[in-house]
């Protein structure tokens, strides 16, 4: 990481604050302890991104195994159970461990810079969110090594397949790992979201009114609200499933009077907003990039934000379109069908506005712009197929076929991932302080664009000629072979493209030969581009006073009235908080608690079920201790007196 610590001529420029119950690692912490105890939003964002990129490669590997198995009819690269585990893990990983945390990485890193804040509102909570995310990722992938292996239930884990009654391996622990890892990941997302909402509402620089917020920050706010409203539903569903599996309750066990339908409603009332949780950040990123590379302000700023909010709001009213084939009756299916069609309108508005932004501009085709254009076109295809199966009669054929697989990959790769990659190429210079190789970036884009379309476009056709999804093989004579082979080749190309991209991102932090980025390499528009690259640990030497929407642009090209000003530095300078061990301790406590819950059941010599909660209790105690220490450790910290030139 290239965020170098600042060296000042102490002592007259810095003073330590002495109000600590016990020591917190201070200003000069470095190395591994620095990374374990950091509360700097930039380092947390970096760790979020790095971990998510690792999981992207892991989930991608799973996808390639899936594609190899489908190369030809009756292949045996994987057994059917391994295949089922693979698509379950691929889906869960990509949704919860890749796209969401990649978005979170940008929220963390970029959002405070865009609003003129020195950090998020609750820096230690931010760190806890990071550790919860990592603990969740580890928990999910630990499942490979225990009874039954990884879950083989699909990423939406439909009851009653998740019930112990229908387990196909005796004592299968896969679904338990799945349940608990999603619960911890939920905590991570909720913590982060409350934090971001508080930050955006309260910590904007003077003059940064809501209608001057950069669109990406707006999308952060909307997504954070979606998360805090959507996650409780899945938290409840998962808790009920946990009770069903562990203590024999009957929430979903239909043989005892439970309702499998209930799971689907709870899951999708989370799951559909989740789709927008995945896509809105990418839309925010693209809405930042297109103005920069067209050298024009965003067309219809207000409408883009309003449509983002409408999409988020309506996302809660369309969940049952995932359930058109579950027998909900004429009225419910019709209502959800019409609502789903309506959601196409605000989505269309965004696309019109992006084109409107480019209209009359001076368009440059640098890598971030290429990915953004890829986003628009691919997302458009994904959106159009979405309109198709918003129609119930059409969905009666599409549902659970490869057509749907094609649809959501167009939205989530062609949409979300392309958008996030655009974000990487756009903002990494700000994070690392170095420009990435443009040619290599364009190669990555070309490989990804070609590979992606080769993989997923044929799947529309495969679905229409009858290939069902989630089948580990297909019989000969259906005519599925050719296009599956094309898709597999495409997936390899896509995989190579992504791997080069990830290499390029990581490399940009370590390769000293790369060109330095300077403050504003793209001639970009928003506030973060007024800062040095990489950004100093205090972000802003003096608080900016915001005068207009595209502040960096206005400072350079705008009239004098629109230039931002600086608040004078207080006598005590910039107060920087000390680092803290408490989030890590609390996170470890939670992790141990979860492991304790996962392994608390056993069979004794006489074959009786025994429950032993010692391990879980230890975890719980550590968790509570962590929180208590957190509460009493005091602010600590030190003061810096940076000169304005050191911003």
């Amino acid at each position: 990481m290239a965020i170098e610590s600042i060296k000042y001529a102490a002592p007259e420029t810095e003073t330590a604050v002495k109000t600590k119950a016990f020591p917190r690692p201070g200003q000069h912490t470095s190395g591994i302890i620095d990374w374990l105890t950091t509360i700097d939003h930039k380092k947390i964002g970096f760790l979020y991104g790095l971990t998510a990129l690792f999981f992207l490669l892991l989930g991608g590997l799973e996808a390639l195994l899936i594609r190899s198995q489908l190369w030809d009819h009756n292949m045996s690269v994987l057994t059917n159970r391994q295949y089922n585990q693979m698509f379950t893990m691929h889906g869960t990983t990509m949704v919860f461990l890749v796209i969401m945390p990649l978005s979170a990485a940008f929220f963390n890193f970029i959002m405070p810079l865009q609003i003129g804040a020195r950090d998020v509102a609750f820096p230690r909570m931010n760190t806890l969110s990071l550790w919860c995310f990592i603990a969740g990722g580890i928990t999910l992938n630990l499942s490979w090594f225990f009874t039954g292996g990884s879950p083989a239930i699909g990423w939406f884990g439909y009851a009653p397949l998740t019930d112990t009654r229908f387990a196909e391996v005796i004592g299968d622990m896969g679904p338990d790992f799945w349940v608990f890892s999603l619960q911890i990941l939920g905590i991570a997302s909720l913590l982060a979201s409350f934090n971001f909402i508080t930050t955006i509402i309260n910590m904007r620089a003077p003059g940064m009114t809501m209608m001057r917020l950069p669109v990406f920050t707006w999308m952060t706010l909307i997504v954070s609200f979606l998360i805090i409203l959507a996650f409780p539903a899945i938290t409840i569903a998962l808790a009920e499933l946990m009770f069903d599996r562990t203590y024999g309750t009957n929430f979903f066990d239909f043989l005892e009077g439970g309702k499998p339908h209930l799971w689907q409603h709870l899951f999708w009332i989370f799951g559909h907003p989740e789709v927008y949780i995945l896509i809105l950040p990418a839309m925010g990123i693209v809405s930042e990039i297109i103005p920069v590379f067209s050298r024009k302000p965003l067309f219809g700023y207000g409408l883009i934000i309003f449509s983002g909010a409408i999409i988020g709001f309506m996302g809660f009213a369309v969940w049952s379109h995932h359930m058109f084939t579950t027998g909900m009756g004429i009225v419910a299916t019709s209502a959800f069908s019409i609502l789903t069609m309506l959601i196409a309108i605000p989505t269309g508005v965004k696309i019109f506005n992006w084109i409107g932004t480019m209209w009359g501009g001076r368009i440059r085709f640098d890598t971030p712009m290429l990915f953004s254009l890829g986003f628009i076109t691919m997302f458009m295809i994904g959106g159009f197929t979405g309109i198709m199966h918003s129609s119930v009669p059409v969905d009666a054929q599409h549902q659970d076929s490869y057509f749907v697989v094609a649809h959501f990959h167009y939205v989530l790769i062609g949409g979300a991932l392309f958008g996030l990659f655009a974000g990487f190429y756009f903002w990494l210079p700000k994070m690392s302080g170095r420009m990435m190789n443009e040619k290599l970036g364009k190669l990555v884009f070309t490989l990804m664009f070609i590979g992606f379309n080769l993989t997923f476009f044929p799947m529309h056709y495969l679905g229409m000629i009858g290939q069902p999804r989630r089948t580990h093989t297909y019989n000969e004579g259906h005519g599925f072979e050719t296009w599956n082979q094309v898709a597999t080749i495409g997936a390899m190309i896509l995989g190579i493209g992504i791997a080069i991209g990830v290499y390029q991102f990581v490399n940009s932090f370590f390769n000293k030969k790369l060109k330095p980025a300077g403050k504003n390499p793209w001639d970009a528009r928003t506030l973060e581009w007024t800062l040095s690259s990489p950004v100093k640990e205090y972000n802003f030497a003096r608080n900016p006073i915001i005068k207009s929407r595209d502040q960096a642009w206005e400072n350079k090209y705008g009239s004098r009235d629109n230039h931002s000003e600086k608040e004078p530095l207080d006598d005590h300078g910039v107060h920087m908080p000390d680092r803290s061990w408490c989030p890590l301790i609390t996170g470890i406590g939670l992790f141990v608690l979860v492991l304790g819950m996962l392994f608390h059941q056993g069979i004794d010599a006489s074959g009786e079920l025994v429950r032993d909660y010692t391990f879980a209790l230890i975890g719980g105690v550590v968790f509570v201790l962590g929180i208590i220490m957190w509460a009493i450790e005091g602010p600590g910290g030190y003061h810096l007196f940076p000169k304005e030139s050191e911003e």
Binding site: N80, Y158, E168, F254, G258, G300, S334, M388, F449, G466
Partner: protein, 460 residues
């Protein structure tokens, strides 16, 4: 820079062309693009409407995008640094685009709502107006047949409540009548997907779902004769025709009356293997099939033990012990003439002959002694049986829930090691089946396997 941009354009243009070539054939076994029934035709029509709408939108919006990218590209470094007018939006354009897109959605919404009603309700026979609109005869919906479908991991039970018969994995139905399908499951969620006839509907635990379809006889026949396109099931002609025409390769010649279906909701390890077939029949052939099935599943019509007091007419069947088959073995004897009381079945008497081959009779015993009968009902209704009902098994075109062709080779492969064919299937892995189970020890026992095959395929 420009050349990558051009490469893009070319790709976008070339992809659909490539696809058009590759997708020239759309009548695949499970293709939703080749509808053969009223409901699926409606689904297809709405789909095509949505395709044309979205192609139009894609061309309009995409064309606009391409124009903008071309027209306003920065041609050189100086131009890239120019500052164009900083306009912020235009509410008239935006509002008109919103209204335009709403109108386009209405075009799709109306047939959608009509389609929802059609899918969920068999038209009322008294509603002549609707029937006319759908060009149906009153009798086609009035005499609708009902099939109760039960999904199990990993096969299908088809029960015909109007006729009191139960079969598995192959749904026989009259091509000219509406078919009501009631869907239930005994374990996890499955989904009944019959692309060419009906779309799909889930089988939800603790709930009964519904779907219906009616085939289009003209589309099934497609200019061919009934004997070619819709051969009769009850006398084995369907099976012969399918075997003669349908190789398991891409270049198959479709038999119009044979439809392929598949479980479409992930239901566990062997979900991929949970397929089924539906066979269309003329009314007459369907009635014959039903009659034959009813007789086969009627316990009163099964051969009874020989009674020395009775007189038997020609063609009667009785069971009697036959030591040549083994100790206490029973054989079915067929009276070739009228038999007087006291003429106990004996082949040397000439009035009795073997009803079945020796292999069949031994296979029948094996079917019990190897515990097959624990899960499979033959010539009985047995709804609750664990495995598929095997009544008239020899008439079926497929084996192992539609996965293999039902011929002697496949059947013996299946019996020898079903786990090799369908990994994780419950015949091999079900409750109470372990390595000591006789079924798992048939691999090297060709004799027994052949006898079982003879028994099963002679269920005709």
């Amino acid at each position: 820079m420009g050349h990558i941009h051009k490469l893009f354009l070319r790709l976008i243009l070339v992809l659909p062309v490539l696809l058009a070539f590759g997708c020239s054939r759309i009548d695949h076994k499970q293709s939703a693009l080749d509808p053969k029934g009223l409901v699926s035709q409606n689904q297809f029509d709405v789909f095509m409407l949505s395709v044309w709408i979205t192609i139009f939108l894609f061309c309009a919006v995409g064309g606009c995008l391409l124009y903008v990218l071309w027209r306003y590209r920065a041609k050189n470094a100086e131009e890239a640094m120019e500052i164009p007018p900083q306009s912020h939006g235009n509410s008239k354009i935006e509002v008109s685009l919103i209204i335009a897109s709403s109108i386009i959605l209405v075009i799709l919404a109306i047939p959608t709502l009509q389609g929802v009603v059609l899918m969920n309700k068999v038209p009322d026979p008294n509603d002549q107006e609707t029937l006319d609109k759908l060009s149906l005869d009153r009798s086609q919906v009035e005499d609708a047949i009902t099939v109760n479908v039960t999904g199990k991991r990993f096969f299908w039970v088809f029960e015909y409540p109007q006729y009191g018969i139960v079969t598995a994995n192959e749904l026989v139905f009259p091509a000219s009548k509406a078919v009501r399908i009631n869907l239930r499951t005994e374990d996890v969620i499955h989904s009944f997907w019959l692309p060419k006839l009906a779309g799909k509907m889930d089988l939800m635990p603790g709930q009964e779902n519904f779907l219906w379809f009616i085939a289009d006889k003209d589309k099934i026949l497609d200019g061919k004769t009934v004997a070619e396109a819709m051969p009769s099931v009850f006398d084995g002609k369907m099976r012969e025709t399918v075997f003669a025409k349908q190789k398991f390769t891409d270049e198959f010649e479709p038999v119009g009356g044979l439809f392929y279906g598949q479980c479409a909701e992930f239901c566990g390890n062997s979900h991929a293997y949970m397929s089924f077939r539906a066979l269309a029949q003329t009314d007459k052939d369907f009635d014959m099939w039903v009659k034959k099935f009813q007789d086969s599943q009627n316990p009163n019509l099964q051969p009874k033990a020989y009674d020395p007091e009775m007189e038997y007419s020609k063609g009667s069947e009785v069971t009697f012990n036959d030591q040549s088959l083994g100790e206490n073995a029973q054989r079915v004897f067929l009276a070739s003439k009228n038999v007087l009381p006291g003429q106990a079945p004996n082949l040397s008497l000439k009035v009795w002959k073997k009803a079945h081959s020796d292999d069949y009779e031994i296979g029948k015993q094996l079917f019990s002694s190897l515990q097959c009968v624990q899960c499979h009902a033959v010539n009985r209704t047995g709804i609750g049986a664990k495995g598929p009902n095997l009544t008239l098994f020899g008439l079926r075109t497929s084996l192992a829930a539609g996965w293999m062709r039902n011929d002697p080779e496949s059947l013996s492969d299946w019996l020898k090691n079903s786990n090799d064919v369908k990994f994780g299937n419950l015949m091999w892995n079900g409750e109470g089946v372990d390595d000591s189970h006789p079924l798992r020890n048939l691999e090297d026992d060709d004799l027994k396997v052949n006898q079982l095959v003879a028994y099963l395929l002679e269920q005709i």
